[in-house]
């Protein structure tokens, strides 16, 4: 197994996993299309398969990367099919390391990945401390505000922490700081992406359905901001307060909840997957549902096939045996950004990698149809936001006509004048 559950506090036991090459993966997964193809080819083959010669002239460079995963407990009311995969984000990072090592072979560069996971922040901090005694490298974080605070407090100088899981806008507006980057889109980027699409469709009267859960409230606040920003109007708000399992009752209850004279679309903000899925097709008026359910703004979606993405989807499916999700993509991006910076700057020092990523020279191809760069005013990776329904890609924001003096990608999320942090402070 190469997913490590390194709960052991002893640094000697915190194993470093060097991600396998694809040939290894295929061997591991048994018969695959490629192997069949290969056998046929071998039968036909007169010559021999050639191995690549790495350029031994270039000095070798190893970049150790750690991914820190806080495994939050999931509410037991979540539909079984919607539970988070155990290897969420970790598989994305592993694929990123595998992709980067293929490039690294030709440049004598090697990337390693250590997976640190726990449901306890203290335990994670201890394991990170142990890892850092032996390694100096970038850390990818997937977890709560508390996890990010702990990692930042603990690891103050010469650091590079890439957030691939936390969407809170606080980290992009007030608490952004030097050495902290984000590859996962912020909540504001997501709601802005949807709001632009709504303007384009002229679905500008929104009925907002939320609950009193703090995270739902945060998402709802983000939609309120985006509505204002792009000229949409919230015509009504409903609070979801059902505590019973509605499985057989949704057809009766949801129309009553969404009863209103007029709205173009229902915006739902269900962070924990508790009720959002009851809304489509059950609303009082025959209207689409969007937000956390229905039409959703996402970092990534399995239905994306444009811009050469089929190759990435295929690689991930073969590697992980499931579809690529938001946090897998954000973790893959984090590793690819690290590798790109290491390849171009020929450095493995976290602070030098950070400087390169924040410079004008950095750009990343990431299957979204255009190059991605970091916002140097808050460390957020600029990226188009796909809008997807469960089975297909519907659109991708920024929508045409939303202009910005620098790049239309900065019409999504908090822009420079709204950000209050000094990135040069370590």
């Amino acid at each position: 197994m190469f997913i490590l559950n390194s709960k052991n506090n002893d640094a000697k036991h915190a194993k470093t996993v060097s991600v396998m090459t694809f040939a290894d993966i295929l061997k591991r997964s048994g018969i695959s299309k490629r192997l069949i193809g290969f056998s046929l080819l071998t039968l036909l083959c007169l010559g021999t398969t050639n191995e690549v010669l790495a350029q031994q002239s270039t000095p070798s460079l190893t970049v150790p990367i750690a991914i820190v995963l806080e495994q939050a407990t999931q509410p037991n009311s979540v539909l079984t099919s919607k539970l988070h995969a155990q290897d969420l984000a970790a598989s994305g990072a592993q694929l990123g390391v595998s992709d980067s090592n293929t490039t690294g072979r030709f440049l004598n560069q090697h990337f390693t990945l250590t997976i640190i996971q726990d449901n306890n922040i203290k335990g994670l901090a201890q394991q990170v401390a142990d890892w850092e005694q032996q390694h100096q490298g970038p850390i990818i974080a997937v977890g709560s505000d508390a996890l990010l605070s702990t990692l930042l407090k603990h690891n103050s100088a010469q650091r590079l922490i890439i957030n691939a899981g936390n969407q809170s806008d606080t980290w992009r507006t007030n608490q952004c700081q030097s050495g902290l980057l984000h590859t996962i889109p912020s909540q504001a980027m997501l709601s802005d992406a949807l709001a632009q699409f709504m303007v384009l469709k002229r679905w500008q009267k929104w009925l907002l359905v939320s609950s009193n859960d703090p995270q739902d409230q945060t998402i709802a606040a983000s939609y309120k901001r985006s509505a204002m920003r792009f000229g949409n109007k919230i015509v009504g708000q409903r609070e979801w307060s059902f505590t019973t399992d509605l499985r057989r009752m949704a057809q009766q209850e949801v129309p009553a909840l969404t009863q209103s004279k007029d709205y173009d679309v229902v915006i739902v903000t269900d962070a924990h997957n508790q009720y959002g899925f009851y809304l489509p097709y059950n609303t009082w008026l025959p209207r689409p549902v969007a937000g956390t359910h229905g039409l959703t703004p996402v970092a990534w979606h399995h239905s994306i096939e444009q811009w050469g993405a089929v190759q990435l989807q295929n690689r991930f499916n073969e590697f992980a045996g499931r579809e690529m999700q938001n946090q897998d993509y954000a973790a893959w991006l984090a590793v690819r950004a690290i590798a790109e910076a290491a390849t171009r700057s020929t450095s493995n020092k976290p602070e030098e990698l950070y400087q390169y990523m924040m410079s004008d020279k950095f750009e990343l191809a990431a299957f979204k149809g255009r190059k991605l760069t970091f916002r140097n005013f808050n460390g957020q990776l600029r990226q188009p936001i796909p809008l997807a329904q469960p089975n297909a890609l519907v659109s991708q924001s920024p929508q045409q006509g939303f202009l910005h003096p620098l790049t239309d990608l900065d019409t999504l999320g908090y822009d420079k004048p709204e950000v209050k942090c000094k990135m040069d402070e370590v």
Binding site: R34, L53, Q311
Partner: protein
Amino acid sequence: MKNFLLLSLLLINVAPTFAETAYVSNEKDDTISIIDLDKLEVVETIEVGMRPRGIIFNKDYSHLYICASESDAVQVLEVASNRIIHNLPSGEDPEQFALHKNDRHLYIANEDDAIVTVVDTKLRTVLAQIDVGVEPEGMAISPDGKWAINTTETTNMLHWIDTSSFQLVDNTLVDQRPRHVEFTRDGKQLWASSEIGGTVTVVDVESRNILNTIRFQVKGVHKDRVQPVGIKLTDDGKYAFVALGPSNHVAVVDAQSFEVLDYLLVGRRVWQLAFAKDQSLLLTTNGVSGDVSVIDVNKLDVIKTIRVGRYPWGIAVKP
């Protein structure tokens, strides 16, 4: 007399096939459109394998090789009969390829597998498989036949393969997502497009050093949408034409000074290019609008648009 009549009838029937033609692969239709270059219209559409992309002719134009990506095959079309006569062992997901000047060795980029497969087209056997970076795409063979160059889209490299040993001997790092490579006629320079980087890199073949990086700026189009893919260089060394993808323009570059001279508006999402009529015409495949634009090379002007199938991708011209 009877024989003479028969002969004349035959000649009349055969005559149209002597017109210069362009073959265009339609990625989403699984077809190839044949354009008569005198009439500038589609005269025939042939059904081929799934997701046809790169296409090239052999030396005497008797066969057309077709990368049928989703059929995992390189198909061989007999030009005289317009029929697929057999498949070559290609490796998985062939996307682009190049034919060695020996008219036998086909170098195929296998996009899903991170390998380049070399196939002997006569014996229909695999000669070698060479490990390259992630998502191999563009292929070109130097005019002297010494080098096979492959681009890898996620690794961002040009891989230099020695065709005498089938060994990878060097790599050149270029901008994001290199798509296409093209040698100058004298073999001294290698031009490579980087789709997401938005640049074309010109490499000196002898030293393998980068000579120049060309950038583009299309008026009214955001620079992120300027995405170079196909490249064609005129034999007289005067021009380089670069297809700029979703910016819907073809750039005209001075091949000596590397200066961009002009941008020509063509169809939507322009990808591949081919010369016709002794390089007096340049044809472009426009994926999204489903057509081919015809550019007059002397006037640097678009003179016609020809509707073909859905998502035209590759293009090859038979004189």
